[in-house]
Structure formats: C-alpha cells, structure tokens
Amino acid sequence: MIAEQFPILIVVTPLTFAFLVNIAGLWNRRLCFPLALIALSACLFFAVGILDAVITQGTPIHYYLGGWKPPWGIAYFIDHLSAYMAIIVAAVALLVAIYSKRSIEREIHEHKIPQLYTLFLLNVTGLLGITVTGDLFNLYVLLEVASFSAYALIAIGEEGALIASFRYVVMGTIGACLYLLGVGIVYSMTGSLNMVDVSGILPHLYHSKTIALAFTFFLIGIAIKMALYPLHAWLPDAYTRAPSAISALMAPTMTKVGCYVLIRIMFFVFEPRFSIEYIPVTAILGWMAVIALIVGSIYAIAQDDLKRMLAYSTVAQIGYIVLGIALANKTGLIGSLLHILAEAFTKGCLFLVAGAIMYKLGMRTIGGFKNLFWKMPFTMIAFVIAALSMIGIPPTCGFFSKLYLLLGAVEDKAWIFVAALLISVVLNIVYFFNVIRRAFFEPSASADARDGGVRKGIAIEEAPLSMLIPIWVMAIGIVLLGIFSGKIITTVLQYAVPIGL
C-alpha cells in the first residue's frame, strides 16, 4: 500500500526534512546532522523500493499527483532509467552526508551548519525530483530547486567561492531559461506538458521548423547545466571553491542528472529517429564530446590543485557520457549509462579523498603530497582504486563502462571516436599518475627518511573514521559494481535503453 506512494515520498521526504533541519538548527545545531541522515536514508530506501517495483512490474510506473490524470495534472513517470538514476543520487547523497559531518565542522563556520544541511537536502530534493518527474515544466522547477541550492552551497565555500557562485548563477540561469523556452514552444505546438503525451503528439510535427528550434533550445539549455565542453566555464571554479563535502555531492550527481535529462529529452520525449535523422544532432554532439574529453583531460594535466584537477576531469567524463549518447546505438548508450554510475562512485570517491587530504593537511596542492601514502595509507589506497577506475583498469566499474563505449564506437565504425577514447585513457593515466607518483615515490626531504631507506618517522595520521568509511564504501563499490556490471546490465540497463535504438 505505502509502496505505491514511494514516487512522491522520495521527493517530499527530503523537502520536509529540509525545513525541519532549519527549524531544529535554531534550537540545537547538533540535531541537524542526524535529521539529514534520517531523511537521506529514507530516500535511499524509497529509491531501492521504486527500482524493485519497476523490475518486478516490468513496465513504467505512472503516479498521478492528487489523482489528476494527464494532461491536466502533474504525472510522475518512472521507468528503469529513472529508478536507476534515483538510486545513484540517493546512495551518493547518503554516503557524502555521513562523510560531511567532520569535514564541514573543519571547513566552515559553525553557525552555517543548519543552513548547509537545509540546502543539502533541498539539492537532493531537486535531483531526485528530476529523476522521477514525467512533466516538462515540473522538471524545470525541480532543476531550479537543485540549482538554487547548489548556488548557495558553493557560496559557503572558501575564498573566491562567491564570484564562482555568481558566475554559476548567471550561466545556470541562461541554461534553465533556454530549457524553459523550449518547453514553451513545445507546449504551444502540442498543448501538453506531459512527457508521454508530448512524445505521442510530436511525431506528426517532426518536419516543423518550430519543433527543431525547441529541440535546439532544450539541447543548449541542458548542455549548460551539464557543463558540456564549450559551456563548462562555470564548473571548475565552482567545484574547486565549494566545501569539500559539497563538491563530492555535486560532481557525481548534478552533471549526471543533466545527462539523464539529455537522454530523456533526446530519446524519450523526442523519438531517437528525430535526434538522428531529422536533425543530425547526434553527429554534432559526438564531436563536442570528443573535444570535451580530450581538452578536459589536457586541462586536468595542467592543474596543480587536486580539486581543480578533478573538476576538469569531470568535464572530460561528461564527454564520455555524451559520446555514448551521441553514438545512438544500444551498446553505446548502455556504456554511457554505466559510465554515469561508474563516474558517480569514482568521482565521488576522489572528491571525498581530496576532502580528507584537505582535512589532514589543510591544503591540496599536488606538489605538496610528498610521503602522503605513508601518512594516510587507507585514504590513498582508496584514491588509487578510484584512479584505476577512472583510467579504466579491470575489474573496476570504469573499465566496463569504457569497454561498452568503445564497443559502441566500433559498432558504428566511428574510428575517430575510438581513437579519441583511447587517447583520453592515456591522458587520464598522465594526470592520475602525477598524483600517485608524488604521494608514493617522491623521496622525502627529511633526513631520516633519506638515510634510513625506510620511511621512518612518518606517523600514520589518518582522517577520522566517519570520513574513511564512506571513502571505502565507494572504493569497494567501484570494484563490486565492476564485477557485477553484467548483472546490472541484464536486470536494469537493457530495459532502460529507449525503443528505436
């Protein structure tokens, strides 16, 4: 009985708790963290429940808010893809929340903690809402809920966060407005906002120039929100300056949910044949993705700040996901969806490690990582696992997603894309080994380490357990998801691929 209400509960629970956290924070700041944890655990539970329901039912779940049938009411529409995304968001948010307690106490002023958790929950509300909604305008509102909380969360960060956040506000608003313009045009042409409804009406209008215009607005708007290469300018500063835990929340979820919206619009609201034949948008996206993954990686090599390096790496990884979408075949899209999962855990783990280093060392310049491995062995081993996944070494999750992308490109005989994927792997090796080399092999300047040969005198100074556990859950998750990637594909992803691909 209650399981039927999960689609709405997954949105309402974090929203309600966001206000509860704020009110509880006025009374006692220590209440905020447990409340946020309760809300996020509930979200994960609901997300798992929804995925389970979708798998057993086999068909998408339709949930009508207030019992109003579309096209009048807002309908939630949950298929395998939505449920998959919801679980990723909920799982990452919960792990980051556990981690955030100590990290945030160190990095931000104490009186901002209630506000931070309020915004944290609002951000998760928006992201989960985007994954479950089946209404184009509702998606816009939830996109803005997620973005507003992101703007404010970033502004809490260190020196320079304010201007980074302001730039994000301007760019993000352009993106959202263009999306809204697309919605307006589609509504004026079809008279409906419900995605299922619209996708039924649109095929009659595929030759219309107005629809092509709407599609273009959708695409550019979403591309800004997901930081696809030439439109990525807001991302590096924003993710570098935000508090560590917040970067770890946003990098794996915000841009990936953007990718989800792109897939939703391109292949579900519009049919795949429209995106492939009527407008050659997949071809254009393919080239943009190739540029993103090469240029993003090159920028990442040039960075000396660990978080900034990871931020540019995020830009490159968006390239991978978009490349899979642009290939527009089943293998490529499965690779793309698997890469969303791999990237969520890998980038989450890496940003958490960056936060742990920040916590212990108070800085994150790669040049200063000498002997870090002997100081923080557990953190750095997790870093290595995540780096291997990012590069694509079996049996990590990153290997399988890249393998599927590669197979998809071979299937399409897109040899330049194959080459670009392989080159980017090499570039990934370069920037991750730069960090690993510093942390593992750089000889110490201190005398006792030099003549002893062994690294004596370096006491283990690990991050607190509440930070190590989420890091390791993600690291083990990377390996397990890799090993069980076949199972994920057969139970979820093969149904998540749209008809007509």
Binding site: E144, Y151, A152, I163, S165, F166, T173, C177, L180, G184
Partner: protein
C-alpha cells in the same frame, strides 16, 4: 512582410529583450549590470509565454452562466476562453525568477562586503593577491 512584423510585434519585443539580456550578461564588467541583464533575459521568456497564452476577444476560463440551474444545456465553447495554463506556469516562473534575483543579490552584497567592489576584473585582481 512588414505587416507580419507589426502584427506579431510582441514576439519581436521578446526577441529584442532576449538579445539585450544576453548581450549585457556577456559583455558587462559590472556584476550588477550582469544581474540586470539576467533579469531582462528571464522576463523576456515570461513575455513569450504570456504572448502564446493570449487570445483576442476571449475571456477568463470561468464558464459564463454556469451558476444556477440550467447548466446541463450549457455548451462551453473553447474558442471563447483563454487557456490559463501558460499564465499559471508563468506565476511559477516569476517565483523562480525572484529566487534567482534574491540569490544573486545576496551574493553581490557578500562580494561587495568582502572586496569592496562589484566590478568583475577588480574582484579577480583582488583574488590573485
């Protein structure tokens, strides 16, 4: 040609506002002017929605004469009423727009307090030190 421009003047205003907003967001150095550009951009889209929803000679979607008894003989002609949905959507979009402006203004106040300026290049200069 000219006639179609004049009769669709609301759409031309929308396009001009959109471009003005975009231009000031991209070229202005003063963050406040960027913010004003952003607002113009948002309101242009609201104007677009309102234009789409407007209908000449139509009225609010409350069925005339539906109060009282003989309602079963009443035929509601859709052509006589305005579709209220675009306007309702824009109420939400206005709220969203106000929230954006609020956040951006709060950021500007914080930037001004910290760097004593809201010129972008001066802020970046101060950050480099």
């Amino acid at each position: 040609m000219l006639e179609s421009i004049i009769s669709n003047y609301n759409y031309w205003v929308f396009i001009i506002l959109l471009v003005v907003g975009l231009y000031s967001m991209m070229t202005k150095n003063n963050l406040m002017k960027k913010l004003i550009g952003m607002n113009i951009f948002q309101w242009a889209i609201i104007l677009f929605f309102i234009s789409v929803g407007a209908k000449r000679g139509a009225t609010v979607p409350v069925i005339a004469g539906a109060h009282g008894h003989d309602t079963h003989t009443l035929v509601a002609r859709a052509a006589e009423y305005v579709n209220p949905l675009p306007h309702a959507l824009m109420l939400t979009a206005i709220v969203v727009g106000i929230a954006t402006t609020g956040i951006a203004l709060a950021l500007l106040v914080a930037i001004y307090k910290r760097y004593n300026t809201i010129e972008e290049d001066e802020v970046i200069e101060a950050l480099k030190k």
